[in-house]
C-alpha cells in the first residue's frame, strides 16, 4: 500500500512545535508563516482554549508524513496541492493540455503531408 497524496499529514521536517501548521501549509500551499500568524491571532481574539484543543487533536489524530512522499520536487508538490484543492480542475487542466498538444500535432501533420504532396507534384512536373 503506497502512501496517499491526498491526505493530511504532520510535517515534521518544517515543524515549530508538532508540525500541524507546517502540515496545513504543505496540504494547502499557503505559506506556513501566514498560517502560524493566523492561528496566533485567532487564539488572541477569543479562540483561546479551542485553538489549542484543535491543535492537539490534529497532532494526535493525523499521521506523520510518510518517507516516500518526502522527496518531492517543487513542481510535484504544487501539482498535488492543486489536486487536493480540486481534483476536477486538475483533470480539466490535463485534458486541455492534451487538446493543445493535439492541435499542435495536427498543424505539424498538415504541414508534413501537404509538403509531401507538393514534392510529389514537383517531381511530376520535372518528368
Amino acid at each position: 500500500m503506497s502512501a496517499k497524496h491526498t491526505k493530511f499529514y504532520l510535517d515534521k521536517e518544517n515543524r515549530k512545535w508538532k508540525g500541524v501548521c507546517a502540515g496545513i501549509a504543505d496540504y494547502t500551499g499557503v505559506d506556513v508563516t501566514i498560517i502560524r500568524i493566523g492561528l496566533v491571532i485567532l487564539t488572541f481574539v477569543g479562540g483561546f482554549p479551542w485553538t489549542f484543543i484543535a491543535y492537539w487533536v490534529a497532532a494526535w489524530l493525523a499521521p506523520v508524513k510518510p518517507r516516500e512522499l518526502a522527496g518531492e520536487t517543487p513542481e510535484q508538490t504544487k501539482f498535488w496541492q492543486g489536486v487536493r484543492a480540486s481534483p476536477a480542475r486538475t483533470v480539466r487542466d490535463v485534458r486541455s493540455r492534451f487538446r493543445e498538444i493535439d492541435r499542435r500535432l495536427a498543424e505539424v501533420e498538415t504541414y508534413v503531408t501537404s509538403s509531401n504532396s507538393r514534392l510529389a507534384r514537383e517531381i511530376e512536373q520535372l518528368r
Partner: protein, 97 residues
C-alpha cells in the same frame, strides 16, 4: 396547551431531524470526492504524459522552424501560399555527410 405543543414539536426535531441531517451529510461526504490510490496514480501518470508530450511537441516545432521558418502559414493554407519557395529560405544546414 403550550406545555403539550412544544415537546411534541421539539422531540421529533431533536431525535429524528437532527440525526437525519447529520447522517445525510455524512453519507454525502463519504460518497463524494474520494480519490483512491489508483486514481492518484493514474492522474499523476496522465499529468506526466502531458508534460512529456508537450516537451516533445516543443522540440519538434523547434526543428520545423529551423528547417522552414514559415511552415505554420503553409500548414494553415497550402493552396494560398502556393508552392513553397525553398530558394528564398537559406539552405538547411546539413549535419554530417
Amino acid at each position: 396547551m403550550e406545555e403539550v405543543i412544544i415537546p411534541i414539536i421539539v422531540v421529533p426535531i431533536l431525535f429524528i431531524g437532527l440525526p437525519w441531517l447529520v447522517f445525510h451529510y455524512i453519507t454525502r461526504w463519504k460518497t463524494a470526492a474520494t480519490l483512491t490510490t489508483d486514481d492518484e496514480r493514474l492522474m499523476e501518470e496522465l499529468y506526466d504524459l502531458a508534460r512529456r508530450l508537450d516537451d516533445r511537441m516543443c522540440s519538434i516545432e523547434r526543428i520545423m522552424t529551423a528547417e522552414n521558418p514559415n511552415w505554420r502559414q503553409i500548414a494553415c493554407d497550402p493552396a494560398a501560399t502556393g508552392i513553397e519557395d525553398r530558394r528564398a529560405a537559406p539552405e538547411p544546414r546539413r549535419i554530417g555527410l
